[in-house]
């Protein structure tokens, strides 16, 4: 159910290692729970993000959620198209990436869950 090539945080972000960079988004579980997403706030290119600290915000009509960085590092790319069409997070959560980070401490990736562990995690109703 959850793509095997991705790693997952307990706060429902996914991380995709692409060589020396990490692409970041939110999982289908998070997008479904928020339901219709109306707005996304993302950091600027060049900003520093910290492991498991908020880097942005996802907004639906009834709720707002912080999104947490699955790795520390510098933001090198941001998906501007997402700000225009935040609803793609609902229709294509793994294609609708949010940011690309140059990780400062790649060892942090080991703290993330694999697809199986994440499936078990959300199965617990978190």
């Amino acid at each position: 159910m959850y793509p095997k090539e991705l790693r997952y945080s307990k706060e429902h972000e996914w991380a995709k290692v692409e060589g020396k960079r990490v692409r970041v988004g939110i999982t289908k579980f998070a997008a479904d729970r928020l339901s219709d997403i109306v707005y996304v706030e993302l950091p600027s290119v060049g900003a520093e993000v910290k492991f498991m600290e908020p880097f942005g915000v996802v907004e639906s009509v009834k709720a707002v959620s912080d999104i947490y960085a699955p790795v520390s590092g510098k933001v090198v790319e941001v998906n501007a198209a997402l700000v225009e069409k935040p609803e793609t997070l609902n229709t294509d959560p793994y294609g609708a990436w949010m940011m690309v980070v140059e990780p400062s401490n790649p060892a942090e990736l080991d703290q993330l869950l694999d697809a199986e562990a994440y499936t078990a995690h959300v199965g617990e109703g978190h």
Binding site: D36, V38, Y39, E59, S60, V61, P86, E87
Partner: protein
Amino acid sequence: MSTPTAPTPLTRQRPVPVIFERGAPGRIGYSLPASDVPEVPLDSVIPAAHRRAHPAALPEVSELDVVRHYTILSHRNFSIDEGFYPLGSCTMKYNPKINEDVARQAGFARLHPYAPEDLVQGALEMVWELERAMAEITGMDRVTFQPAAGAHGELTSLLMIGRYYAEKRERRSTVIVPDSAHGTNPASAAFAGYRVVEVKSDHRGNMDLDALKAVLNQDVAALMFTNPNTLGLFEEHILEVARAVHNVGAQLYLDGANFNAILGITRPGDQGFDIMHLNLHKTFATPHGGGGPGAGAVAVRSHLTPFLPVPTVERDGQRFTFDYERPKTIGKMRAFYGNFGNLVRGYAYVRSMGASGLREASEMAVLNANYLLARLREHFDVAYDRVCKHEFVLSGRRQRDRNHVTTRDMAKRVLDYGFHAPTIYFPLIVEEAIMIEPTETESLQTLDAFVDALVAVAREAETDPELVRTAPHDTPVTRLDEVTAARKPDLRWRPERSGVPSRA
């Protein structure tokens, strides 16, 4: 058993043009005299560089256009004067007409805030008397009416608490709230610069005393408490809570939104509270006005009086004065003195009710709530099986699980029966929460009709769930596209607009 009412008048159903779409260029709706001062070139009055090039694009309508427009709009509004609002946490009691007559007289409504004190002795006396009454009702020492609303009162209180500890040179950076707290509590605490810690409620709906004690320490500035709490339940361990909070030198704050349950029965000052706010637009019957204005009062014990906002109102024999000489004041939360127009209404209410009337109001508010709870408990899940106070919380869990009908759906269907919906999805700790507060001003007949409507909706959830899921049907508009409203906000009229926005 009542069924949805007859079709509503046409004026309710047809969309109403915005006022900018009415009228015609050059049409006027006002009457003002011609200038009676000598005519001089406008440039010498105000230099051209400072003047608008074009008048503001406001409507060009006749007086009749204005009258029809707002009259029709008023027909598309639910109000207490029309029907019952069972809104938990809001205390939608009847707003007495006589209080309007009292407040609108020129002797109050036409007073300039900077008029000399000699010219406003009647106003100052009223405020002083209202303070004395509120102090007595709450069991506190002094009261300020400067806050414009309850949340404003919360912020005022937290700032006073902050000053109190600053004076004592104690660093305290945490505020504790229950997990059932109204959203304004953590918002106010954050706005006041505090870190917010949540403590869970126990199985009886009280704050979990052990969980509370685990987080109480010297860094805690205050516990923000609601009592009765947002579940409609009296916090049974209040005296222990007060002791525990005071043991670590912290302040006990009361969110007084639920005061309608306890008038003349118990007083926060006697329960151990140090500071609290009241909502005059809840307990003291001032009108809600479609969202405001309210009036907040903050009542304090004497150790906090030095920090009250300025000015306070003082009495010296037969004379009333403003006191600005308060060196430890937090300052001001707004210009001037408070929502005076609503203080007049609140004063009139207190004088109308008297001590026995206020007590009777609370008793009936609590009885009405328990009556509704008794009649509804077989049809909905009950969150906590206890005698409630002025409000109670049900859960729509049963209907959601069995029939895929949510609390939102049922609330919308209630509108078709001619009632306002109860409060929904609050407090957050109850799934599919439905919070009901009847107040004392509703009759048994109204309560029974409301029960009938809710029972009918619960039944419809089983027999015709789609009807409920697509409700409301008999209102001026059906469910609105809130997603598009948030994705592509349309927050003002633009003249070049034509037709109707399309759904995304």
